[in-house]
Amino acid sequence: MAQPPSFTLRVPEDTDSNGQEPSPDNEGALHTSFHQLIQEQSSLIEAGLELEMQARGREDPARLTAPDACATEPGQGEEHPSYSSASLQILASMPSRTIGRSRGAIISQYYNRTARLQRRSSRPPLQQLCRAARPSLRQYDLETDPARATLEDKRSLLVKGLLNLSPSQRSHMLLTVPLSLAEKRTLRQELSGQRGPPRQHSQHRAPSSPCGWSKDYIVLGCRDLWYRLLSLLPAGQPWHYALKQIGGRFGSSVLSYFLFLKTLLVFNIFSFLILLIFVVALQAAYPPALASPQPFTGLELLTGAGYFTHSLLYYGYYSNITLNDPCVSSPNGSTCPLAAPLLPYNMPLAYTFSIGVYFLVTCVLLVYSMSHSFGESYRVGSSAGELAIKVFCAWDFKVIQRRSVKLQRENIRTQLKELLAEQRSRSRSLSLCQRLGHTAVLLLAWALSLSTVLGCVLAVHYFSEHMHVVQQDHRARGSGEQQQEAILLVLPLVVSLLNALMPHLYNLLAMWEKQDSPVAQVYMAICRNLILKMVILGLLCYQWLRWRVVCSTEECWETCVGQELYRFVVMDFIFTLLDTLFGELVWRLILEKRLKRKQRPEFDIARNVLELIYGQTLTWLGVLFAPLLPAVQMLKLLLLFYIKKTSLMQNCQSPSKPWQASRMSTVFITLLCFPSFLGAAIFLSYTIWSVRPSETCGPFQGLETIYKSGKTWVQVLAKSNPNITWLAWVYQHLVENTFLLFFMSGFLLAVIYFNVQVVRGQRRIIRLLKEQIANEGEDKIFLIQKLHSVYEQRERRA
């Protein structure tokens, strides 16, 4: 049981007050205990105020006399009518109020935390556990310690507490204590002065302490090294100044777009290195003997055909033999009379495995960054409390330019007004008619957008068929190579045009719709654009794999598909440039010169991020057919960064709609992972498993499917070395067997269910704790009222 504080019954003058009210039995004891408490507190206050005056010279003397000054004002606030100065002093020194102010309170709070941390490592015996419903920490609280610990005592206690922790915990605790630098330095000096002896504490710690200690030292050492490295290499943080400029002028929302671009670039660099090392470089060192390449004309950069057709860029260039092998024959050929080669390199195998590892690494990186940003941005029970969060967290301290600061203020004001208006309208329930009208408008808008998507898809389908016919025509007529290749550009042009124009149409639709909350507007715009892009890409993939329309007459259809994808990537880049040019530069000129408005065009973050995702999807789709495509994408992203930044600085202003940067980043990474990467992975799997590679070109010539190459390799391996037949067994029973897949998905479902239950339990606990805190608050108000009534009665008697 928690021991109630032992107070002695005193002050007989209060006893007559007992008879006036129908009271519980121990009200007399309550009164006297309060009296005792009040006396303790007032003496503490005097000591505390003295300490504060000594230790923190920057306290305003006006503030020190404020409790007295408050007494002279009869109506200080609605909830404090004529409270006496003593009670106000007590109120001012309540732990909940002093915790932010006095250094002693901070030190004692952190001492409690270190004590808690230390206790966590060794469980206290069961007898010492409090069985009260509300176990109080009064036993550990230094503030009400009758010994009246001074600042020095508290500090030494904190140092002792810190010494009992492990080094990493200690450094973390020092990092998180909100004291000034001078204080922390003295603490650290005291710690290092006292660190040698306490080996006898080791028996209180967990038994794995020797390993724990060395691990902590290693971690600390690594972190020191990393910081030193970071400070030495300014190039270790590329674009640091550019990002700072952007953040300083436009705030976190626009910055999130550029950070996303940087993330994509990093993804591409890492995964492209794999392809470069294992596939491209080796093939470049051992070029196959092919027909003489065509002369280089400028059009190749756009069409990807011509000179580039028989180059490292495409699938058709890669050989299907073991490189560096003197006996160049089919893989299951006869015995080779010559000596074994130095470093035989099986190209088809390398190709398959590199692509597989590329996708695996990308998948791992994506899932990791998605879970990381999800963990940062999602909070249990965070749906309520928008206004408070907006007011407390809305000010972006990164913004440094005067004009941007003014703009930010206007934005915040607009957003606050919108939120308040939304709340007012929510409290006013809409009539049935209005609600029906609203729903009808919503449905109509969605129907319209879906039908436009369908229309675009059909248009692309018929147009590609038409272009194919035209192409056949030209080929039959024997017109020039360049003309034939220029025709190839038309389909990508049309698709990019659709992708560029439809978002503006959706914007107009959204303006007509007039959604209430701007966040929902953003989400709907993203949805519609995404549906359009993904459906068009799906149609194109279907066409390429069936090779019914495009590439049906080619010998090497993979190279053809690779070329198509290259053209799409290049067209996408060109259209992004044009969009930036017209959408931002020309629009700004029109606004300023013609319409004479001071406003500049806004930077549409959602649309730009979706374009980035689209470009990345194209790259992932094309990796199998054009291994150098990630390099093209990297170049494109680099150029895009500088172009967008320049255009932003010259032409745009920051968006006025509210933009929750971290939640939106999570949404974008999720979009990158789910429709985009998953779609590319499905496309790749289908290609590897079911599509027949072409007969005459590429590393998988003549095989039934690309997957068969791996299978034959395992069989060859098993046959050649009888010691590793287990590999073949593993392959047959684990990889090929579908049972593994079911098992993995079942496991994943179980993990998801478990996490959902944990979150549900946490929500319940949060609700219970909130109720408990509300009850405590009522207790506190009740006690304050009683306190004041006690003082009033005393004053009246005095």
């Binding site: 923190r56 010279g57 920057r58 305003d60 503030r63 404020a66 606030g77 001012a92 909940s96 109020r97 002093t98 915790i99 932010g100 102010r101 990092l175 998180t176 909100p178 000034s180 630098l181 700072k244 953040g247 976190s252 940062e376 941005s377 999602y378 909070r379 029970g381 965070s382 409390g385 928008e386 206004l387 408070a388 969060i389 007011v391 407390f392 967290c393 809305a394 000010w395 972006d396 301290f397 990164k398 440094i400 600061v405 203020r409 206007e410 004001r413 606050l416 308040l420 709340q423 007012r424 929750q660 940067a661 971290s662 939640r663 909130k770 509300a774 405590e776 608050g777 009522e778 108000i781």
Partner: protein
Amino acid sequence: NPFQHRICQVFSTSDDRDDSMSFEDFLDMLSVFSDAATSDIKSYYAFRIFDFDDDGTLDRKDLEKLVNCLTGQGEESRLSNAEMEQLIQNILEESDIDKDGTINLSEFQHVVSRSPDFASSFKIVL
């Protein structure tokens, strides 16, 4: 930055109370506003900055001053009185858990921990 005065007040430890900052105070300020500071420290100092009268809690007057700082001081950029009342009422409803009419440090930290944007916006980049 509308909070410049409060920032100087909070971080200066000089005895003259003229809000001057020594080099160590400047280091303190930059370390709090940097990436490496935990959100605990950031919310602690944000609370101190927003507490205009330094009484350890955010009461109505503090909140009013805070909103005025955010929206601008000019006449046409302030919120109207009714809107201000509604806003403050809502904030207190949402964040004052023990219903005492003020927001103390723990409640503030609880509200702020629910917003993932706080750490990235409470940052000054060098």
